[in-house]
């Protein structure tokens, strides 16, 4: 019984911290309007999967392609799967991310910036204020984070992803954003709709949320 009580206390503490963090998050590109968060974190470590990949063009947020010679685009593949909490209370989450930014300003020795995940450590659903799945992500939305390596340099950093499945086809509908704070890297979009996470729209590919796996 004491063990159960301790576990419940720890869980409650974690949930409270999560809610406080999501509500009080300072103004960032994700939540550009202070005191008006665009989303809340929902269930932590849900039994869910998000997979697929595609392309995002600049300026991000618009469903328009740039000529490949302009290098103003990114391509990526990403796969995250969570089985819920294990017996020790740890989130059983795994997955991988491959990200290539073809922009000239991010090239290292002439090579496009190439990020590859080394571990996925956390995942949570994204909700709007009404407690529903994030607006304009009608099939599901996830926040996940972990560590990655910059393959151009071998440096390892933390990263965060906001991931959105807005039905089929994914092109022009689904969204994706990535942050690598250590190196000041982010592919984010302006606040397109006040009720939705301001995610960058895919100009090719698909993200698919799987509620079961």
């Amino acid at each position: 019984m004491p063990k159960l009580r301790n576990l419940a206390f720890l869980l409650a503490l974690g949930v409270a911290a999560m809610v406080a963090w999501s509500c009080d998050r300072p103004a960032t590109p994700v939540s550009p309007q202070a005191n008006k968060p665009l989303f809340w974190f929902g269930e932590q470590c849900p039994a869910a999967k998000m997979t697929g990949g595609g392309r995002i063009d600049f300026p991000p947020g618009e469903a328009q392609k740039n000529p490949p010679a302009s290098h103003q685009y990114e391509t990526f593949g990403a796969h995250v799967i969570s089985s819920g909490f294990d017996q020790n209370g740890n989130c059983a989450v795994k997955g991988s991310l491959e990200w290539v930014d073809h922009r000239d300003e991010w090239r290292i020795n002439g090579r496009p910036l190439n990020l590859h995940s080394t571990a996925i450590t956390f995942v949570a659903t994204l909700l709007t204020g009404g407690g529903e799945v994030a607006g304009d992500c009608k099939d599901g939305a996830l926040y996940w984070r972990g560590t990655l390596v910059v393959k151009n340099t071998g440096e390892e950093h933390g990263f965060e992803v906001f991931d959105c499945d807005n039905g089929e086809p994914g092109v022009g509908h689904d969204g994706f954003e990535i942050f690598v704070p250590d190196i000041g890297y982010e592919v984010t979009c302006p606040d397109r709709r006040p009720e939705s996470p301001p995610l960058c729209v895919l100009t090719g590919g698909n993200r698919q949320f799987h509620p079961t796996h």
Partner: protein, 255 residues
Amino acid sequence: MTNYAFSETIGSAGALKKEDCMKKRVATTAGSAMGLLVLGMLSAALPWAQAWAQAPAAQSFGVAVNTPTASGTSAVAVLPADGGLASDNAPSVNVGGLAGAENAFAMASGAGDLDPGGTPDATAVSSSTLESVTLLNGLITADGVVALASSAAKGGMASSNAEGSQLANLVVNGVAITSDVAPNTRVALPGVGYAVLNEQSFTGDGVTSSGITVNMIHVVLQTVSGGGCGLLGCLPGVLTTTGEIIVGSATSSVQ
């Protein structure tokens, strides 16, 4: 195995004796029972079997050359059978002097499941990107190539598309081809063969399955053998395909 042995008996004797018929009935009954047992075991494993049936497929590559003198494929990504992500890259690609490119990246990702209602819920996406592409000593060049294939099955519908695929500053046999290239554009390459640009082929029924392969540059190498003119007239030569070069390929499918 038993039934196969009886077939031999039938063949050698020409007709079945009564005893053989009895043996056959026993063997057939035993075979049927075994079959039912196997079916029962498969049914017990149905959830696994259904999950397997939703397995998506995806693969992509940067450059593939297949000729009698040179062959090779570089920057290849193949989605694992149980889904996930695969990736590969090559800073520089050169296959036999026939095809060259820089900064080749290939990715393939996807997964398959059943939704709570029991309908397929699967996606597969693959992409290939390259820069500074040169084929056949400059006969075809492109500053950039993006091949992107995407397939999804959800809510009782399945579809595929090549949205996001592009060719940049493409020049074929000295002729610049601007803007987007229409799917399956065929261009003659005199003395060499022909090229199909933005080659797209679809599979599936659009309900339970769908797939697409997009090859942004597909060169088919051909030679003419035989033929010629003599005292009695001229005979046409025989066109023979001797090889192919594919640049920027992405395939995806769900079922």
